[in-house]
């Protein structure tokens, strides 16, 4: 207590409280629209491919990972000069050692590439939610359009500041009658073959250009699917016919009945792997993003800072967990079940 009463901590404390009070009274920010799917950015289309903000984030993450890794290995020296090379080598060595502990030298060498690619990509993709402004720079469109296309029911008023248009914190909600009317109109517009546009928008919503890629289930399920299929390919290539045996397909004779049930469980567990891998990653990062939104919405200053730290950790942890589980699945796929592998 006495430590708080000294001038410096006291000033900091009072300043902090003052900031919070100002934030609550005068400086409200709108709560970003929280949508499960990656949001299509209006007007961003390449050929017939509608870009979503999560896809944009994926491309950015690709570029960042590629640029950083190529910079790290571009001018490698025996005695490292660049910090990037040092960092890269350090990471490589640590994780290769870790994988060697888990699966042995040969497997670590074979799959450290997949592991690190997953780790780097997911790390950048996860941490993208932490970049300030990433969820508040985007395209503003009428609430009615957003409702017709995505089912958004809450929008905000807008105001012009210089050359920029920004949402204010004044909320606008669509009533049931309005919703019905919009639906009707949108159907009419669709029947007429034109894009629905309201005459006088009641409110507006913002679709950010970039949203953390791992908050899109398509990405996490896609990667999980890829990992599990890949592990089967590895298992089959290493063990051949023996690999199929673990799933108790009744092709192989001499199988005990209990093996059949074990096989069914194995089969189910493969699907469980996909679900758990993808939803763990998605859930953590999506929830983290919503947490940051809500904290900024409650108090626009200071409050979200500790959560940034938390999300930094969660982002790393989830990327790491995904990558290490991938390695473990690969590793498990190379064990044959009946104990006929010589140890």
């Amino acid at each position: 207590m006495s430590k708080l009463l000294q001038p410096k901590p006291l000033a900091l404390l009072i300043g902090g409280i003052l900031l919070v009070v100002i934030a609550v009274l005068f400086f409200r920010v709108p709560l970003p629209t929280i949508l499960l799917p990656g949001e299509a950015i209006p007007g961003w289309k390449i050929g017939g491919f509608q870009l979503t903000n999560t896809f944009v984030a994926t491309l950015i993450a690709d570029v960042v990972v590629l640029v950083l890794s190529f910079l790290a290995v571009r001018n490698m020296k025996e005695v490292p000069e660049g910090k990037l090379q040092n960092l890269f080598e350090w990471i490589y060595e640590i994780f290769e050692g870790m994988l060697t502990d888990i699966g042995g030298k040969e497997k670590a060498k074979a799959w450290v590439g997949v592991f690190l690619t997953l780790l780097f990509f997911l790390l950048i993709a996860n941490w993208m939610e932490l970049i300030p402004g990433i969820d508040s720079i985007g395209v503003i469109e009428p609430l009615e359009v957003a409702y017709a296309e995505k089912g958004v029911t809450v929008g905000y008023q807008i105001k012009q500041i210089g050359p920029f248009i920004t949402l204010t914190s004044e909320q606008v909600k669509l009533s049931d009658e309005e919703r019905a009317a919009i639906k009707e109109e949108a159907e009419k517009a669709e029947a007429a073959g034109e894009r629905y546009h309201p005459h006088e928008p009641k409110g507006y919503v913002l679709t950010p250009y970039v949203r953390a890629a791992t908050t899109d289930l398509n990405l996490t399920i896609g990667l999980a699917l890829m990992v599990v299929v890949w592990s089967h390919v590895i298992g089959f290539r290493r063990l051949g016919g023996k690999y199929i045996r673990r799933f108790a397909l009744p092709v192989i004779t001499g199988m005990k009945p209990i093996d059949f049930f074990v096989g069914i469980l194995e089969f189910i567990s493969e699907f469980a792997k996909i679900i758990s891998l993808s939803f763990r990653l998605f859930g953590n990062i999506f929830a983290g993003q919503v947490l940051l939104f809500v904290m900024a919405f409650l108090v626009s200053f200071l409050l979200s800072l500790p959560f940034f730290g938390l999300e930094l950790f969660v982002g790393f942890m989830q990327a790491f967990v995904f990558a290490i589980l991938t390695f473990i699945y690969f590793e498990q796929a190379t064990h044959s079940h009946a104990g006929d592998e010589h140890h």
Partner: protein, 163 residues
């Protein structure tokens, strides 16, 4: 499924995207890093081995030099010992010589003293004899009585003892 935003096109494009990233990194980045680490490990091992050899050589050289030094020291000690023995012998000789000379000097001195004594005694005898003759002469000349005889003898004797 639609409310979760699942869409097969996106899903496949994400997988393809990851594969492209993986292939690029696998082809250009990871082998370079792994190669560099391997090379460095080899270089360090070589360096350590070379240092080991150098250290062993230095140790051997040191031992050789130490042995040499020891041998030289022993040699020097031997020489010093020999020299000091020599010196001792010389000293002994000199001492013996000196003693001999001193003895010779002393002997000669004693002999000389003896000779002197003999000479003096011989002289004294001669004088006594002369005096005796002289006294006898006087006695004969003066015709002596008892008392005078005694006196003469006493005189004579006192003269003798004076001599």
């Amino acid at each position: 499924m639609a409310s979760l935003g699942l869409n097969l096109n996106y899903l496949i494009s994400y997988i393809v995207n990851f594969f492209l990233l993986y292939i690029l990194l696998k082809k250009f980045v990871f082998p370079a890093v792994s190669q560099m680490l391997e090379d460095r490990k080899k270089r360090i091992a070589e360096g350590l081995a070379a240092a080991d050899v150098a250290r062993r050589e230095a140790e051997e050289e040191r031992k050789r030099l130490m042995a040499q030094l020891e041998a030289e020291r022993a040699e020097a000690q031997k020489r010093v010992a020999a020299a000091s023995a020599q010196a001792e012998k010389v000293r002994e000789e000199i001492l013996a010589q000196a003693r001999r000379e001193a003895e010779a000097i002393r002997t000669r001195a004693v002999e000389e003293a003896e000779a002197e004594k003999q000479r003096i005694l011989a002289e004294a005898h001669k004088q006594i004899a002369e005096l005796a003759l002289l006294a006898a002469e006087r006695v004969v000349r003066e015709g002596l009585d008892e008392a005078t005889q005694h006196k003469i003898i006493e005189d004579f004797l006192s003269q003798v003892s004076l001599n």
